[in-house]
Structure formats: structure tokens, C-alpha cells
Subunit: 361 residues, 4 copies
């Protein structure tokens, strides 16, 4: 990962600002002959799309992805050609309003102050480059990555903690995630969570959340020691998502409290002669390489920084002010982060697949 | 990061196995004219060196680093020349014993099974490439990185949780770390922790821990959106350290429970006209770019996988067995992980400095 | 360089096929606060644009570049923000004709056979990804690179050999290049060259050429030993241009015939105390690092592979056939290669500037 | 390629100076289970080794390579493990003499002036990092690369032009190269060339040369458009070798004089149903991808810059002086460049193999 590109062999370069004419990405390194068209991308984009419920931003975007290159239909339907795949998404609801106050003042918790400090200029319109709108490009790229991985690898994520409210580990049910507007990994918590989040929303406040990720079907052997560890790549990918402040693999921070005996994932031989682990504290990775067990991770999102309560801040000219952030915002940015977490996992794994194949054949 | 190299402009490539003739690294991209000799490396290596107390492995290694290239003394003492710096550390206590059982059986929690699955071969002697011995090279590279960063940037880490025992956040005192054999960030906890860890050790068991990191003196503006975020780079670097299972920045997982109001790090203008933050939930990073506040992170280490209690496992030939791991081991691998955490932070920051300078001048 | 990206810190990723909806590129790593708008790109694109004379393809393309991201006007005109700059060029004259024969048969000298062999599929429409149309993206990126380099660095190229006809070294005049339709680096040769090339053109044949490059104003010290040598980077960049088969720096192949005495570029101290070289066989590079003298190179282009004379070839189904390539083609692809050579040089140098600044400050 | 590393997946990082304690390299990304020991490296190193005849430097170096990591013998002989392979070569004849004059004055044609300009310091002892001694590491890495490529890919190079003396293309015989001290690709020219080069040598002068390269056995499909073209990678690799000033592929600069008809490599179907080219002006590469024909290239070396005739130069303090370079030098640095050219070709191809396998499977 560097600058605006991530991945080594499956490489994604994203571009675009929140209120510019468009955003998009270039997906490079894709193997050829994979059936791919725009309809393969859209369902994933629709999951992340704004405006789907009262719990997400009311910005109106169709998030329609167009593929401008890298696929070709020679009579049997469009397939990848091995050439770079350019994906383009128009910004349709970038409002031409007066950004006056935000243009001058730094919104606490946002990247306003740091972009200004680094670059001496920032596109303040809707957060510019640092807007979560950029994650639409990630989701589009993730859809391509899923096609490389195939149906045998199943990537699922969901909200398992909303503010202080948690889903018990044994109650996590990823199949519920896209059937409720909270992306919650349990149908049972939804009514209570909706009521609570309505309170947060109406108060003009916001909350954080934890998203759990589980990937099944990864064969043993993917990843690469020591500085290309699968879990290190995954951690970097997750930490690159807006508002993420923590990543843990398997037992994660909980493993610090375990004894060596309890943490050991013991092994037996299964009926088919393969290795069967008796537990998965490792989260599917040992020494940076996949074990064949499910890859599990948890990702912490901070609360949305845009809130209606005035906060103390300063302007780029060095004067103190108070700022309340009006406009259209997600009360909990983690919700729409769920498809983004899945997409980044897909990209990391597609890259791992190609790298593994390169060295091992 | 890829394969065995990390860093973009300040690049470190490590090599070597636990029981081979030597380990080492090549540090490339270092600016010229920085005074550097072997005496600059040794104090940091001594902190990580085995055999220093009963709480770490009893393997006897002097960990003497030799610099084989990249420095030149033109009369005023050795300085870096801009050429790659090769650092070489002999393995002095690699025992020629019979590894029979470990050669065949996979130690639970170790990378034995995954290396075998990926490569079809593994250097089982002392863990081979996946041994924590490799981290000596990281510490040597980190010492070079510190010279680039200069004295204004202070990197400190320490154990803040040992198994279930925690140091309260307001009791953390990094100045205590290298004065106690537990690398604990508080002198007060040491007697109780020593007694508890003695129990773990004598039982042939092991425990996990959490290491806190704090870096002061980083100016605002380092780091690079979106896929070279300072916190993403740091997370990957930490997750690449043996036994690390979780990384959080600033308030980390705790931020998921905060409201937007509480999480906002408000800003005022200080007496010198600069920005003064009223809190640091962000951990010194917003949008992937440093704020000028201290960079803070916490890193979770799992318990040492080598324990004396027999665990169920399998052999590479597919038979079931029970395995107890004899030999010389750290009861808590996180302890000597403290200087490694510092070193990796130094490398990430030296790289960030060079990258920032490239784009911004 | 890898896949479809070139550059280390100043990074250009291109995408698009000859007859797809558009082509474009993403320019990443650009320093902020550089004034830039579409009018800065267009003059360079116009130089490469097809249809300008009877000596280039008659395809009608306005080659209008749109900037979709990475610049922002905060009141004083648009400047770069440090974010990726997406540049988009529509394909306006991609004809919907029957490609029947070319779809099946491999045009000799083109990449048809190799793309098919590698990918098992190829976008045959107008050459697809391997079309020289892609070089418009390079020219757009080069225009951005020139803004980074500033006016002190002057990059000029021109045709110095057309088929067997050469311009004597001491007659090379780069100021003539864009005043004649042959991009010839001498006004004097134009009438004779035009007559000769008309004959080639009317015969449905094609010819090769040699382009000379000269860059003045590069300070001493750019470049990086050993695998990032300035001349090695330049050679790779040039060899990546369609139809280029040879690159030489300074005296190049001629240096093989020189004695050590004759090849030595002797040095004296100039009136201002700086080093003055007495000759420039080195072409401005020693040990991969710029000397401060002009960077000089020569680039050989093979003849356009598309010719009207039937040539023996085979189809992707393995049958023999004869093929004549109808359609719109440049009789000498090197002519419009001149602005491409300049653009690639600009990109290499902008990257070298940033890399130099990173390590040296 | 960047800094001191080349290759994308098969990555070689070299380190060391001419008169330091040692030189070496780290070869990373090697597939596992390839039989490899030091005896596999030595024959190639012996070909490049100094002191073999009166036509090369008289420095006495055994160039004994030690492998310090990355191979493991589990009972059936040492094989690669997939871990980085550290190779170490001691400097045995680095003379502790007074370098006084060379320390101050810049040798014309050498990198002395540019290293000083860039870094503000240079290890002047024997040329330091810019010495051709570094190429021993390349040859060692190339030996590893050959093991990956296997015996089906045959890489051969030889001198085809010594100063003004050329071997006719149809007289080139690579089998003669290592049977004569001039590395000449024709036994017939050796007596005359020896006599001529003796004259050059005795006069304290030097000469340039052209080395031809031919690689057979590469399947169609290796390489990657557009910025990872096989010929672009090869050009960069060759241009990174000391003293190289030009690279051409296939017909190279000669192709500029060809008509499209003559340059076309026509295709027919062979007896086994495969494609048979009727000529190879392309040098085995079309569109950056291998055609299956032999890869052919020619590389121009400038004369050795170290000569006994005094040349005008300046010191780092800015005074004018005359300098004659005493000491041990190759009268024609291209001769020992032959095994280096082969080694770099091997590294480029091993990398291409891995990259191809990654994307195509």
C-alpha cells in the first residue's frame, strides 16, 4: 500500500473527492477470462449506497458503476482481459452550497486539520478526499476481487457492537446482516438497537461500533512471512478505512489474558485425513499464513465526527471558534462500513491468492 | 511491505533462521552523512537480548551487531553514505541437538503447520524463519531509524497488561520500563507481577500481555492518505511481529463506546499560536496523518505457544500425537517484544519522514 | 514499473483500450499547491493528437483531457491538492466496423499473437490495450510532471533519423521539431523527408526512425544507484513505448568504439566555481546519477507494423493466412512518438526529483 | 527496481563496497523445494572472478559465496525453503593503501563526482559502492534464478564487438565464449583480438565493447504490458550494470532503417501445429510479451574509465588537477560483464516467470 494504491499483484488505485464530478478506481493485475460486467458490481455497491434508511446519510446517490476498460465481449459475454479495469462512479448529489464555515474551521475528529497541515490546501467540500464516499470505489474493487476468489470463499461481516450494546459471540449470525438497516449480525437485537440509535440520531449525536469479519474457505498456505503476513495485510487494509481505530485477529486483545494452554488450538486428524483444529483462537492465521480455518477479525470504528453539538475548534487562520456540523451524515459510520470491510478483505485475499500462486505455483 | 522487506523509502530486508549461522538485515534508503557505528546499535539490541533474567529464554546470545557496508569514515568518524547498510548478527547458541519430535509434529500455536502447508518444507530447528530471534534484526534496523528521526522524536513502549493484570492508564510510566525485568510501565506493579509470572513459569505455562506505545515529537503532517495512512502502516508493522494479535490506535476499541461528543478532540490556540488539542482520543492520527499530538497505540500479544503441558497435535505425516515443547522459551514473549515494538515504530516513522519530505519538500 | 503503473513516488497508472469508451490515467504522488488545470495539459496532447497531417493516422480525436480529481480552486485558481489526479480522455472516433479478419488473424509485428498467448483473450478492436492510443495518457501525465519540474528543466525531443535518412549530430535543432509535420529536428531536411515519406505512405508501406532526447537544467545528484539508476529508469520508460526497440544514453553504442582517453569527459572549474565538463559522452549520467550536464539519449522505433502489403500469418485457430492491414495508420509511428518520449522523460525526472528529495532533503 | 533492490517477486537486494569487509545479497521470493547449495553458485562466480587472465584486473579474490539462510537439508540435500537466501562473499584483497589522490580528485568517467554531489560523502576506496565488484552479487543471484528457470531456458552471452572489431552476425558462436579469455562469441577472432587488446592494455588505455545476449526456451506469454514489459525490464536490468550505455532488442537501432515489410516477422504453422516465425526482428518480444522465439539483445559497454593517461579533472575542493588512475583495472570492463549480463537476464526472467504464474496461473 502506498499513496492511493493498495495491493501488490491485485492492485487497486482509487481517486476522487466527495463533491467532485466523480470517483473511481483502476483495478490492475486481474487474471483474464473471468466473466465480469457492471451487474456484478452493483449489488455490492447497493449495500453501501447512502439513503437506504434513516440511519444513514440522506445524500442521494445511485452509485452506478461503469466499467470503462479491461473487459471484452468476444461473443460469449464480457470477460476480463488482464488489462486494467477502470471503474467510474458519478457524484450525483454534490450540493453547490456555501461551505463557508467548514472551509475555514477544522471539524474535530475529521482530517481537516491534518490535510491542511500536510498539504497547505484541502478540498473542504464534503470532506474532499477524506470523505467516506471514497469507499464506494473500494466496494467496486472488492466485487472484482470476489470474482477472482470464486464462490468457495465466503466473506461476511456485520455489526456486533453498537455503542455499548454487544451481541454475544455465540449469538452472531451473519445471515441477518443485510436484512436489517443496522447491518447487525443478529436479528434479535435490531428493535432495541433501532430505538437506541434513533435517540442518538435525534440528539444530533453519533456512536461508534465494532464490526466482526469472518471468511471461510481459504485454503491453508496463503500469506507470506514476515512483512507480508496475511494478518498484517488485513490489519493495514482495515485501518485504512475511515474511522477505524483498532483491529484484532482471532482472540485478539482477549488472547493477552489467556494461558498458553487455553490459547493453543489443538489439532486432530479428521475423517478425510486432513487437519481439524479444536478451536480457533488464532483466527485462521499462524505465522502470517492461513491455517485453513475461518479467518476472523474484529474492527473498531470510532463515532462519526460530524455532530450537531457545537465543539471547540480553530480555524486555519488560527482563531478559536465553536463548530456544529450540519448537513447529511451517518449517525454511525460503521454501519455502511460493513460492506467496506468485506470488500477490503476480498481485495487482500485476491492479492494473497495471486502472490501465493506466484511463489508456490 | 512484501516478502521479507518492509518500508517504502526507508527499507529493511531481514534474513536468517533461528539455528542457522547468522541472521541479519539490509537497511536501504538511509540518508547520508548520519553518524553511525556499531555502538549506536548495541544498546538497543542489549535490551532485547535473551538471557537477561529468569523471565526470558536462557539461550545465550551476545547479539553483537556488525555493520558490513554503508558507512564510511573519511576522517571525522563513520557516517552513512546513502548506500545499503548490511547488519550481521551471528547465532552463537544454536544447539546441535536432536529435534526429532518437533521436526515431525506441529507445535500448536506455532507456524509449523502453516509453513509446511505453504512451502512443503520447513526449517524446524528452533522455529527456523518464524522464530522470534528474527526480531533482533528489526531492533538493529530500528536503531538506524532512530538516528534518522533524531532526538526530538521519543519512542517509548512498555508492558501495561500482563495476563489479566493491568496498569491503570493514569499510572503508566514509561521511564520504568527498562529498569525492571518485566518491561512493565510501572515500578509499582513489578513485585506482584514477578510473583505471578514466576508461578506461570514454574508451571511450564505461559501468558499473553499488552504493550503500550507512545511517540512524542512527531510534527503534524506525516503519513499519507489513503492506503499509506500512518496508522495503517503502524498496524501492519506491529501485526508483523511474532505473536501479535491486535492493534489499536488512540482510544481504539474503546472508541466504539464513545459518543461523538466525547470522542471529539477539541482544539484551542496555544500561547505560541499553535493548535492545542484538549484530548487525544485520536492517538495522534486523523485521516492517516499525524496531528502533532503523541502517537499512541496498544498491541496485544498472545501467550508463548511453547509450553510444557502436552497438547494434542498432529505430525506432518498425518498421525495424531501429544506434544510438550521442551527447551528454552520466554514465558511471556511480549516482554522482549517491547524493544521490538519500539523498533518497528521507529522504522515506520523514518519511512514516513522520507515519504513526507518527498511529496512536500 | 509494474503492470500498468510506472514511477515510484510520482506514479502514473494508465487504463483504456483503443476502441473502448475512453482512456485515461491516475497521477498519484503529485506535490500540492501546484497550479494545474486542463489548459495546462491540452497543448501537449495536441502535439500528439492524430489527424494533424497526412503523415499520421486520420482517426479524428480531439483528445480533450478532463481532470476529475486532485485539483481544487480555493479562490486563487485550481491547484493540486496532493490527492490523485484522474485524467479522462474520451474515445470519439472508435469505429463500429467489422473487425472480422483482424479478430481472427494475428497481425505480424503487433502484439496480437502474444496477448492471445498470454491471456487467452484479446480486445482486437484497433489493437485494444496495445494500441498507441494509450500514449495520450502518458502525454497527459507528462504535462503534470513538467509542472513539478518547473521551467528550469527543458525537455526536448525530435526525429533525427527517418528510415535511412539521418540528421548530422551538429545539425540537430530541437526548436524546429514542432514546426514541421515530421517532428524532424532540422528544418532543412523536411522537404526531402516529406517527399520520401510520401512515397512510403502511398506504397502502403511504413518506416522506422530514431528520436533524440535532450534535457537541460537537471542539477547534479538526481538518480539512485544501483537499481534505480536514472539511465536505467529512463531506458525502461522509453522501452515501454510502443514500437521502441533500442535506447542509448550519451555516446551509447558509439562508446563501444571509443578509447578510454576519448570517452573521458574531462572536468575544469568554471568561472562561477562550478564543475565544467569538456564533453558529454556520458549523456549527463555517471553511476546512475545526473552530472548536471544535459541528459541525452536516442531511441529507436521500428516501422509501423500495419502495412497494406499482405504478409504471411496465422489465425488464433491455427490456420495459415495472408493479411494486409487496412485502416487508419501512421506510416511512421515514431513521429507522434516524439511528444511521448518527452512525456516519459518528464515522468521519470519528476519521480527522480521526489526520490532525491526524500533521501537527501 | 528501486534503491538497491531489483525485481518484483524474485527480488534481489545487494550491499557492500569494493574495499569493505564483504559484499553480498539477499534473494527473496524464491519458490521452495529447489535444490540449492553453494556449489551451484560457484561456477558462475568463477566465470566473473578477477585474475583469470592478463585481460582482467589482477585483484586476487576467490569470490567464495556462502549461503547463510533460506536453504535447509531435511535429509535429502539442501533445498530452498521459501525464506530469504542471504549470500555472503568476503573481500579478500582490499588493499590498505593510501588512496590520497583518488580520495580528493574525481576520476573522469567514474561516479566519483556524482556520488559526491548527491551524498556529500563517498567511499572512495576502490570505487566504493559504484565498483564493478558489486556485480559478483548479481552473478550469485543469477545462479539462483537459473535454478528457478530450469534447464529448458538457456541463457548465453558473449562479446561480439571489441572496440572497432566486430563479429559478423552469422559468425556468432556462443559456445566459444567461456573457452577464451576475451569472452568472445567466436573462436576465430581471438588471436587478433588478443593482440589488439594487448596493445590497448600495454598503452595503459582501455576500450569498449558490445555484448550480445540470446535466451532460448522462453515460452510465449511472459512479460506484462505496459509498464512491466519484458523488454523494458530487461533494458533497465542491463542499463543498471556498470558502464552500460545502450541496449537494443532484436533488430534494435537497425529496425529504424527497415521497411514495415522487411521488419514483419511472418508466421506459419509448424509441423506440431505451433506457430513458427519466419524471422526474429522482434528479438522474441512483441508488445512486451515473449513470442516463444529466442530473446535477443545487444548491450553496449563504454571503455573502462580507469586509464593511465592523465586526464583533466577537479577535486572535491574545487581545484583543477590532472589524474592518472593507477592500480588494478580491467582494460575492457565488458569482458567480465558477460556473466553479469547473463545473470541479470536470469533474474529478469525468473521474476517474469513468477509474475506470469501469479496472473495467469
Amino acid at each position: 500500500m502506498s499513496h492511493n494504491t493498495f495491493g501488490h499483484l491485485f492492485r487497486v488505485t482509487t481517486w476522487g473527492e466527495s463533491h467532485g464530478p466523480a470517483i473511481g478506481c483502476v483495478v490492475d493485475g486481474c487474471p483474464p477470462l473471468i466473466p465480469l460486467n457492471e451487474a456484478d458490481l452493483q449489488p455490492w455497491l447497493d449495500r453501501r449506497k447512502p439513503g437506504g434508511s434513516r440511519f444513514v446519510t440522506q445524500r442521494k446517490e445511485s452509485d452506478t458503476a461503469r466499467i470503462l476498460s479491461g473487459v471484452f465481449d468476444d461473443g460469449d459475454g464480457p470477460v476480463t482481459t488482464g488489462a486494467p479495469i477502470a471503474i467510474h462512479i458519478d457524484n450525483e448529489d454534490a450540493r453547490s452550497k456555501d461551505y463557508g464555515e467548514i472551509a475555514r474551521a477544522f471539524r474535530p475528529g475529521h482530517a481537516d486539520m491534518t490535510y491542511q497541515a500536510k498539504y497547505g490546501v484541502r478540498d473542504h467540500r464534503g470532506g474532499g478526499r477524506s470523505s467516506a464516499r471514497e469507499t464506494a470505489s473500494r466496494v467496486a474493487a472488492g466485487a472484482v476481487a470476489r470474482r477472482i476468489l470464486g464462490d468457495g470463499i465466503v466473506i461476511r461481516a456485520g455489526v456486533v457492537q453498537l455503542g455499548p450494546h454487544r451481541i454475544a459471540p455465540d449469538a452472531v449470525d451473519f445471515s441477518a446482516v443485510y436484512d436489517n438497516p443496522l447491518f447487525a449480525a443478529s436479528a434479535g437485537v435490531v428493535p432495541a438497537w433501532e430505538a437506541w440509535l434513533d435517540g442518538v440520531r435525534k440528539a444530533g449525536s453519533s456512536c461508534g461500533a465494532v464490526v466482526a469479519l469472518e471468511v471461510t474457505g481459504i485454503p491453508a498456505g496463503w500469506g507470506a512471512p514476515l512483512y507480508g503476513k496475511l494478518d498484517a495485510e488485513l490489519a493495514a487494509a482495515m485501518m485504512s478505512i475511515n474511522a477505524v481505530k483498532g483491529v484484532e485477529i482471532g482472540a485478539g486483545f482477549g488472547s493477552a489474558e489467556l494461558s498458553g494452554e487455553d490459547n493453543a488450538d489443538e489439532m486432530r486428524i479428521g475423517p478425510d485425513g486432513g487437519i481439524v483444529f479444536q478451536s480457533n483462537h488464532a483466527g485462521g492465521v499462524l505465522g502470517g499464513i492461513s491455517t485453513g480455518q475461518p479467518l476472523t477479525a474484529r474492527i473498531a470504528f470510532k463515532p462519526t465526527s460530524s455532530i450537531l453539538t457545537p465543539r471547540q475548534t480553530v480555524t486555519r487562520d488560527g482563531t478559536e471558534t465553536d463548530l456544529r456540523t450540519k448537513g447529511r451524515h451517518d449517525p454511525c459510520v460503521a454501519l455502511r462500513g460493513v460492506p467496506v470491510v468485506e470488500a477490503m478483505a476480498a481485495c487482500v485475499l485476491a492479492d494473497a491468492l495471486l502472490r501465493h500462486r506466484a511463489q508456490i505455483g
